[in-house]
Protein backbone atom coordinates (compact mmCIF):
# COMPACT_ATOMS: atom_id res chain seq x y z
CA UNK A 1 0.00 0.00 0.00
CA UNK A 2 2.76 2.37 0.90
CA UNK A 3 4.52 1.59 -2.30
CA UNK A 4 1.48 2.23 -4.34
CA UNK A 5 0.83 5.43 -2.55
CA UNK A 6 4.34 6.54 -3.25
CA UNK A 7 3.94 5.73 -6.89
CA UNK A 8 0.76 7.71 -7.05
CA UNK A 9 2.41 10.67 -5.45
CA UNK A 10 5.29 10.46 -7.91
CA UNK A 11 2.91 10.47 -10.81
CA UNK A 12 1.11 13.42 -9.35
CA UNK A 13 4.32 15.36 -8.84
CA UNK A 14 5.63 14.64 -12.31
CA UNK A 15 2.33 15.50 -13.86
CA UNK A 16 2.21 18.74 -11.98
CA UNK A 17 5.71 19.66 -13.05
CA UNK A 18 4.87 19.01 -16.66
CA UNK A 19 1.73 21.05 -16.38
CA UNK A 20 3.61 23.91 -14.77
CA UNK A 21 6.42 23.85 -17.32
CA UNK A 22 4.25 23.54 -20.37
CA UNK A 23 3.21 27.11 -20.08
CA UNK A 24 6.81 28.23 -20.65
CA UNK A 25 7.60 25.98 -23.58
CA UNK A 26 4.51 26.28 -25.71
CA UNK A 27 5.27 29.63 -27.33
CA UNK A 28 4.77 29.79 -31.08
CA UNK A 29 6.40 32.08 -33.63
CA UNK A 30 5.07 33.39 -36.86
CA UNK A 31 6.61 34.36 -40.11
CA UNK A 32 6.53 37.83 -41.54
CA UNK A 33 7.34 38.93 -45.02
CA UNK A 34 8.80 42.18 -46.11
CA UNK A 35 6.79 44.67 -48.05
CA UNK A 36 8.09 44.24 -51.59
CA UNK A 37 10.31 47.13 -52.51
CA UNK A 38 11.88 48.29 -55.71
CA UNK A 39 15.58 48.71 -56.26
CA UNK A 40 17.01 50.65 -59.14
CA UNK A 41 19.98 49.91 -61.37
CA UNK A 42 20.86 52.51 -63.97
CA UNK A 43 23.13 52.02 -66.94
CA UNK A 44 25.51 54.45 -68.47
CA UNK A 45 25.96 55.48 -72.05
CA UNK A 46 28.91 55.30 -74.39
CA UNK A 47 30.40 58.73 -74.98
CA UNK A 48 31.28 60.25 -78.31
CA UNK A 49 34.84 60.09 -79.54
CA UNK A 50 36.74 63.24 -80.33
CA UNK A 51 39.52 64.33 -82.62
CA UNK A 52 39.39 61.64 -85.23
CA UNK A 53 42.24 62.10 -87.67
CA UNK A 54 43.41 60.15 -90.69
CA UNK A 55 46.78 59.87 -92.32
CA UNK A 56 47.70 58.06 -95.47
CA UNK A 57 50.74 55.92 -95.93
CA UNK A 58 50.74 54.53 -99.39
CA UNK A 59 47.52 52.69 -99.74
CA UNK A 60 46.92 52.47 -96.03
CA UNK A 61 44.97 54.87 -93.94
CA UNK A 62 45.86 55.23 -90.30
CA UNK A 63 43.20 56.61 -88.00
CA UNK A 64 43.73 58.07 -84.57
CA UNK A 65 41.49 59.64 -81.97
CA UNK A 66 41.25 60.70 -78.36
CA UNK A 67 40.49 58.23 -75.63
CA UNK A 68 36.86 58.08 -74.55
CA UNK A 69 35.59 57.02 -71.15
CA UNK A 70 32.25 56.46 -69.51
CA UNK A 71 30.98 59.15 -67.18
CA UNK A 72 32.03 56.91 -64.31
CA UNK A 73 35.60 57.02 -65.57
CA UNK A 74 35.67 53.46 -66.80
CA UNK A 75 37.36 52.89 -70.12
CA UNK A 76 35.32 51.86 -73.12
CA UNK A 77 35.88 48.45 -74.64
CA UNK A 78 37.17 49.52 -78.03
CA UNK A 79 36.62 51.63 -81.08
CA UNK A 80 35.34 51.13 -84.59
CA UNK A 81 36.12 53.28 -87.61
CA UNK A 82 33.34 53.28 -90.13
CA UNK A 83 33.39 54.53 -93.68
CA UNK A 84 30.23 56.48 -94.26
CA UNK A 85 30.90 57.83 -97.71
CA UNK A 86 33.15 56.83 -100.54
CA UNK A 87 33.78 53.76 -102.57
CA UNK A 88 33.40 51.58 -99.52
CA UNK A 89 30.81 51.80 -96.79
CA UNK A 90 31.09 49.93 -93.54
CA UNK A 91 33.63 49.05 -90.92
CA UNK A 92 37.09 50.10 -91.92
CA UNK A 93 38.96 48.91 -88.86
CA UNK A 94 38.61 48.37 -85.12
CA UNK A 95 40.81 48.94 -82.13
CA UNK A 96 40.66 47.16 -78.78
CA UNK A 97 42.68 46.90 -75.62
CA UNK A 98 43.03 50.61 -75.15
CA UNK A 99 44.54 51.24 -78.56
CA UNK A 100 43.69 54.61 -80.04
CA UNK A 101 44.67 53.91 -83.61
CA UNK A 102 43.82 51.49 -86.31
CA UNK A 103 44.91 50.95 -89.89
CA UNK A 104 42.65 50.50 -92.86
CA UNK A 105 43.89 49.00 -96.09
CA UNK A 106 41.21 49.36 -98.68
CA UNK A 107 41.09 47.10 -101.65
CA UNK A 108 40.66 50.05 -103.88
CA UNK A 109 41.58 53.61 -103.66
CA UNK A 110 42.13 54.87 -100.13
CA UNK A 111 39.49 57.49 -99.85
CA UNK A 112 36.26 58.24 -98.16
CA UNK A 113 34.59 59.82 -95.20
CA UNK A 114 35.03 58.16 -91.86
CA UNK A 115 33.73 58.37 -88.33
CA UNK A 116 34.77 56.53 -85.19
CA UNK A 117 32.48 55.10 -82.54
CA UNK A 118 33.23 53.72 -79.11
CA UNK A 119 32.36 50.12 -78.32
CA UNK A 120 31.56 48.20 -75.12
CA UNK A 121 30.62 44.57 -74.61
CA UNK A 122 29.47 42.76 -77.69
CA UNK A 123 26.60 45.05 -78.60
CA UNK A 124 27.04 48.54 -77.21
CA UNK A 125 28.08 51.12 -79.78
CA UNK A 126 28.44 54.81 -79.17
CA UNK A 127 27.50 57.83 -81.22
CA UNK A 128 29.47 58.69 -84.34
CA UNK A 129 32.27 61.19 -84.02
CA UNK A 130 32.71 64.15 -86.24
CA UNK A 131 33.61 62.87 -89.69
CA UNK A 132 36.96 62.97 -91.36
CA UNK A 133 37.41 62.78 -95.07
CA UNK A 134 40.43 61.62 -96.93
CA UNK A 135 40.87 62.48 -100.54
CA UNK A 136 43.20 60.50 -102.77
CA UNK A 137 46.16 62.27 -104.09
CA UNK A 138 46.66 64.15 -100.92
CA UNK A 139 48.88 61.75 -99.10
CA UNK A 140 49.70 62.85 -95.63
CA UNK A 141 47.02 65.43 -95.89
CA UNK A 142 44.78 65.34 -92.92
CA UNK A 143 41.44 66.78 -93.64
CA UNK A 144 39.05 67.44 -90.91
CA UNK A 145 35.56 67.83 -92.20
CA UNK A 146 34.13 68.05 -88.72
CA UNK A 147 30.81 69.73 -88.56
CA UNK A 148 30.93 72.67 -86.27
CA UNK A 149 34.49 71.95 -85.35
CA UNK A 150 36.55 72.68 -88.33
CA UNK A 151 39.89 72.68 -86.64
CA UNK A 152 42.28 70.32 -88.32
CA UNK A 153 43.37 67.62 -86.02
CA UNK A 154 46.90 67.26 -87.20
CA UNK A 155 49.50 69.86 -87.58
CA UNK A 156 51.70 67.80 -89.76
CA UNK A 157 50.54 69.43 -92.90
CA UNK A 158 49.84 72.85 -91.69
CA UNK A 159 50.64 75.67 -93.76
CA UNK A 160 47.64 76.03 -95.79
CA UNK A 161 47.35 72.53 -96.90
CA UNK A 162 44.66 71.74 -94.43
CA UNK A 163 41.43 73.00 -95.70
CA UNK A 164 38.54 72.98 -93.33
CA UNK A 165 35.06 71.77 -93.81
CA UNK A 166 32.99 74.16 -95.76
CA UNK A 167 36.00 76.14 -96.55
CA UNK A 168 37.75 76.00 -99.78
CA UNK A 169 40.00 75.77 -101.76
CA UNK A 170 43.49 75.18 -101.11
CA UNK A 171 42.94 71.55 -101.38
CA UNK A 172 40.89 72.19 -104.42
CA UNK A 173 43.57 74.07 -106.06
CA UNK A 174 45.98 71.24 -105.82
CA UNK A 175 43.59 68.43 -106.04
CA UNK A 176 42.43 68.67 -109.57
CA UNK A 177 45.82 67.92 -110.90
CA UNK A 178 46.30 64.90 -108.80
CA UNK A 179 42.88 63.78 -107.98
CA UNK A 180 41.61 61.34 -110.46
CA UNK A 181 37.94 61.22 -110.87
CA UNK A 182 37.75 57.54 -111.09
CA UNK A 183 34.79 57.47 -108.83
CA UNK A 184 31.86 59.23 -110.24
CA UNK A 185 29.65 61.08 -107.91
CA UNK A 186 26.83 58.70 -108.37
CA UNK A 187 28.94 55.62 -108.08
CA UNK A 188 30.19 56.80 -104.79
CA UNK A 189 26.82 56.07 -103.35
CA UNK A 190 27.43 58.53 -100.72
CA UNK A 191 27.65 62.06 -101.59
CA UNK A 192 31.31 62.18 -102.18
CA UNK A 193 32.48 62.57 -105.67
CA UNK A 194 35.96 61.79 -106.80
CA UNK A 195 36.92 65.35 -106.30
CA UNK A 196 38.35 66.33 -102.99
CA UNK A 197 35.49 66.44 -100.68
CA UNK A 198 36.38 69.55 -98.92
CA UNK A 199 36.29 71.68 -101.93
CA UNK A 200 32.97 73.23 -102.32
CA UNK A 201 32.66 75.03 -105.51
CA UNK A 202 34.50 72.43 -107.45
CA UNK A 203 32.49 71.06 -110.26
CA UNK A 204 30.71 67.97 -109.34
CA UNK A 205 31.40 68.35 -105.71
CA UNK A 206 28.15 69.74 -104.61
CA UNK A 207 27.65 67.59 -101.57
CA UNK A 208 31.14 67.87 -100.29
CA UNK A 209 30.24 70.53 -97.87
CA UNK A 210 27.74 68.20 -96.39
CA UNK A 211 29.92 65.16 -96.50
CA UNK A 212 30.87 65.69 -92.98
CA UNK A 213 27.30 66.17 -92.12
CA UNK A 214 26.29 63.14 -94.02
CA UNK A 215 29.06 61.31 -92.41
CA UNK A 216 27.93 62.25 -89.01
CA UNK A 217 24.33 61.65 -89.62
CA UNK A 218 24.30 58.54 -91.62
CA UNK A 219 26.68 56.06 -90.24
CA UNK A 220 24.67 53.11 -91.17
CA UNK A 221 26.40 49.89 -90.41
Amino acid sequence: MKRRTAVSLMVTIVGGAIAAGSGLTAWATWAVSATPVQGLAQTGQLPGVENLAVRANGKKLTFSWNEARFASGAAVGGYRVVATAGAFLGTACEATGGSLTCVYTPSGRPEGTFVVRALAGSKWIGPASAAVTYAPGNENLVLDAAVGAAEPTSTATTGGSKPKAKSTPKATETAPTTAPTGTSPTAATGTTPGQPTVSPGTAGSTPTETAGTAGTTAPAE
Binding site: M1, R4, T5, V7, S8, L9, V11, T12, V14, G15, G16, I18, A19, A20, G21, S22, G23, A26, W27, A28, T29, W30, A31, V32, S33, A34, T35, P36, V37, Q38, G39, L40, A41, Q42, T43, G44, Q45, L46, F70, A71, S72, A74, G77, A120, G121, S122, K123, W124, I125
Partner: protein
Amino acid sequence: MRSDRFPRGRRWGAGAAAVLLCLGTASVRQAPAPEPVSRDTATFGLRATPVNGLYPGAVRRSRVTVTNPYPYPISVRSIGARVDSTSRRGCRPSARNLRVGRFHGRLPLTIPARGRADAGAFEVQMPGSVDDACQRATFRLAVSGSARTVNR
Protein backbone atom coordinates in the same frame (compact mmCIF):
# COMPACT_ATOMS: atom_id res chain seq x y z
CA MET B 1 -12.75 -7.73 -7.27
CA ARG B 2 -12.61 -4.64 -9.17
CA SER B 3 -11.82 -2.61 -6.14
CA ASP B 4 -8.77 -4.83 -5.49
CA ARG B 5 -7.25 -3.99 -8.83
CA PHE B 6 -7.62 -0.27 -8.20
CA PRO B 7 -6.92 0.48 -4.56
CA ARG B 8 -8.08 3.78 -3.22
CA GLY B 9 -4.57 5.32 -2.96
CA ARG B 10 -3.74 4.64 -6.55
CA ARG B 11 -7.03 5.96 -7.72
CA TRP B 12 -6.58 9.16 -5.81
CA GLY B 13 -3.04 9.63 -7.19
CA ALA B 14 -4.04 8.95 -10.75
CA GLY B 15 -6.95 11.27 -10.45
CA ALA B 16 -4.81 14.04 -9.05
CA ALA B 17 -2.29 13.62 -11.83
CA ALA B 18 -4.98 13.71 -14.45
CA VAL B 19 -6.42 16.89 -12.98
CA LEU B 20 -3.04 18.55 -12.88
CA LEU B 21 -2.29 17.53 -16.44
CA CYS B 22 -5.55 18.95 -17.59
CA LEU B 23 -4.88 22.18 -15.82
CA GLY B 24 -1.42 22.35 -17.34
CA THR B 25 -2.73 21.80 -20.81
CA ALA B 26 -5.26 24.51 -20.32
CA SER B 27 -2.50 26.83 -19.22
CA VAL B 28 -0.55 26.48 -22.43
CA ARG B 29 -0.72 29.81 -24.03
CA GLN B 30 -0.50 30.37 -27.71
CA ALA B 31 1.86 33.08 -28.79
CA PRO B 32 -0.27 36.11 -29.15
CA ALA B 33 -1.08 37.40 -32.56
CA PRO B 34 1.07 40.24 -33.71
CA GLU B 35 0.32 43.23 -31.63
CA PRO B 36 -1.63 45.68 -33.65
CA VAL B 37 0.35 48.37 -35.33
CA SER B 38 -1.14 51.56 -36.55
CA ARG B 39 -2.16 51.93 -40.12
CA ASP B 40 0.71 54.30 -40.64
CA THR B 41 3.30 51.84 -39.44
CA ALA B 42 5.09 50.11 -42.28
CA THR B 43 5.42 46.38 -42.22
CA PHE B 44 8.81 44.75 -42.01
CA GLY B 45 10.68 47.02 -44.39
CA LEU B 46 13.53 46.65 -46.83
CA ARG B 47 15.49 49.31 -48.59
CA ALA B 48 18.10 48.79 -51.33
CA THR B 49 20.52 51.48 -52.41
CA PRO B 50 20.41 52.35 -56.12
CA VAL B 51 23.15 51.24 -58.46
CA ASN B 52 24.45 53.62 -61.09
CA GLY B 53 26.87 53.72 -63.99
CA LEU B 54 26.45 50.17 -65.20
CA TYR B 55 28.12 49.17 -68.45
CA PRO B 56 29.03 45.86 -70.06
CA GLY B 57 31.17 43.91 -67.62
CA ALA B 58 30.47 46.15 -64.65
CA VAL B 59 29.67 44.73 -61.22
CA ARG B 60 28.06 46.82 -58.51
CA ARG B 61 26.60 46.16 -55.07
CA SER B 62 23.28 47.31 -53.69
CA ARG B 63 23.22 47.57 -49.91
CA VAL B 64 20.11 46.46 -48.07
CA THR B 65 18.73 48.01 -44.90
CA VAL B 66 16.05 46.27 -42.84
CA THR B 67 13.54 48.15 -40.72
CA ASN B 68 11.49 46.47 -38.00
CA PRO B 69 8.36 48.43 -37.13
CA TYR B 70 7.14 45.95 -34.54
CA PRO B 71 7.51 46.36 -30.79
CA TYR B 72 9.42 43.09 -30.63
CA PRO B 73 12.50 41.76 -32.39
CA ILE B 74 12.40 39.83 -35.62
CA SER B 75 14.93 37.50 -37.20
CA VAL B 76 15.52 38.11 -40.89
CA ARG B 77 15.98 34.78 -42.60
CA SER B 78 16.35 35.60 -46.27
CA ILE B 79 16.79 38.52 -48.64
CA GLY B 80 16.71 38.32 -52.41
CA ALA B 81 16.24 40.38 -55.52
CA ARG B 82 15.38 39.82 -59.15
CA VAL B 83 15.20 41.95 -62.26
CA ASP B 84 11.60 43.00 -62.72
CA SER B 85 11.38 45.52 -65.56
CA THR B 86 13.25 48.18 -67.51
CA SER B 87 12.52 51.69 -68.61
CA ARG B 88 13.36 51.20 -72.27
CA ARG B 89 11.66 49.27 -74.97
CA GLY B 90 13.98 46.79 -76.58
CA CYS B 91 15.84 46.34 -73.32
CA ARG B 92 14.44 43.21 -71.77
CA PRO B 93 14.66 42.47 -68.06
CA SER B 94 16.52 39.24 -68.66
CA ALA B 95 19.72 37.72 -67.39
CA ARG B 96 21.31 38.47 -70.72
CA ASN B 97 21.08 42.16 -69.86
CA LEU B 98 21.39 42.23 -66.08
CA ARG B 99 22.02 39.64 -63.40
CA VAL B 100 21.45 39.79 -59.69
CA GLY B 101 23.84 37.70 -57.69
CA ARG B 102 23.32 36.09 -54.34
CA PHE B 103 22.96 38.07 -51.18
CA HIS B 104 26.12 38.79 -49.20
CA GLY B 105 25.31 39.21 -45.53
CA ARG B 106 25.11 37.40 -42.24
CA LEU B 107 21.73 35.76 -41.96
CA PRO B 108 19.71 35.18 -39.94
CA LEU B 109 19.95 38.69 -38.61
CA THR B 110 18.04 39.84 -35.56
CA ILE B 111 16.58 43.31 -35.77
CA PRO B 112 15.60 44.82 -32.42
CA ALA B 113 12.14 46.10 -31.75
CA ARG B 114 11.44 49.20 -33.84
CA GLY B 115 15.02 49.04 -35.00
CA ARG B 116 16.95 49.23 -38.21
CA ALA B 117 20.07 47.48 -39.38
CA ASP B 118 22.33 47.12 -42.38
CA ALA B 119 21.72 43.58 -43.57
CA GLY B 120 24.33 43.27 -46.31
CA ALA B 121 24.33 43.63 -50.07
CA PHE B 122 23.62 41.80 -53.26
CA GLU B 123 25.64 42.03 -56.45
CA VAL B 124 24.31 43.46 -59.66
CA GLN B 125 26.25 42.42 -62.74
CA MET B 126 25.90 43.61 -66.32
CA PRO B 127 27.16 40.96 -68.75
CA GLY B 128 28.97 41.76 -71.96
CA SER B 129 26.01 40.50 -73.93
CA VAL B 130 23.76 43.36 -72.81
CA ASP B 131 21.72 44.81 -75.64
CA ASP B 132 22.58 48.17 -77.13
CA ALA B 133 19.03 49.30 -76.33
CA CYS B 134 19.93 49.11 -72.65
CA GLN B 135 22.15 52.18 -72.78
CA ARG B 136 20.76 54.88 -70.52
CA ALA B 137 18.15 52.47 -69.16
CA THR B 138 16.84 51.97 -65.67
CA PHE B 139 16.36 48.44 -64.46
CA ARG B 140 13.82 47.95 -61.69
CA LEU B 141 14.61 45.25 -59.18
CA ALA B 142 12.09 43.52 -56.96
CA VAL B 143 13.63 43.10 -53.51
CA SER B 144 12.02 40.74 -51.04
CA GLY B 145 12.76 39.11 -47.73
CA SER B 146 11.35 36.95 -44.98
CA ALA B 147 11.67 36.96 -41.23
CA ARG B 148 10.29 35.35 -38.15
CA THR B 149 9.41 36.80 -34.82
CA VAL B 150 11.85 36.04 -32.08
CA ASN B 151 10.68 33.93 -29.14
CA ARG B 152 9.96 35.99 -26.07
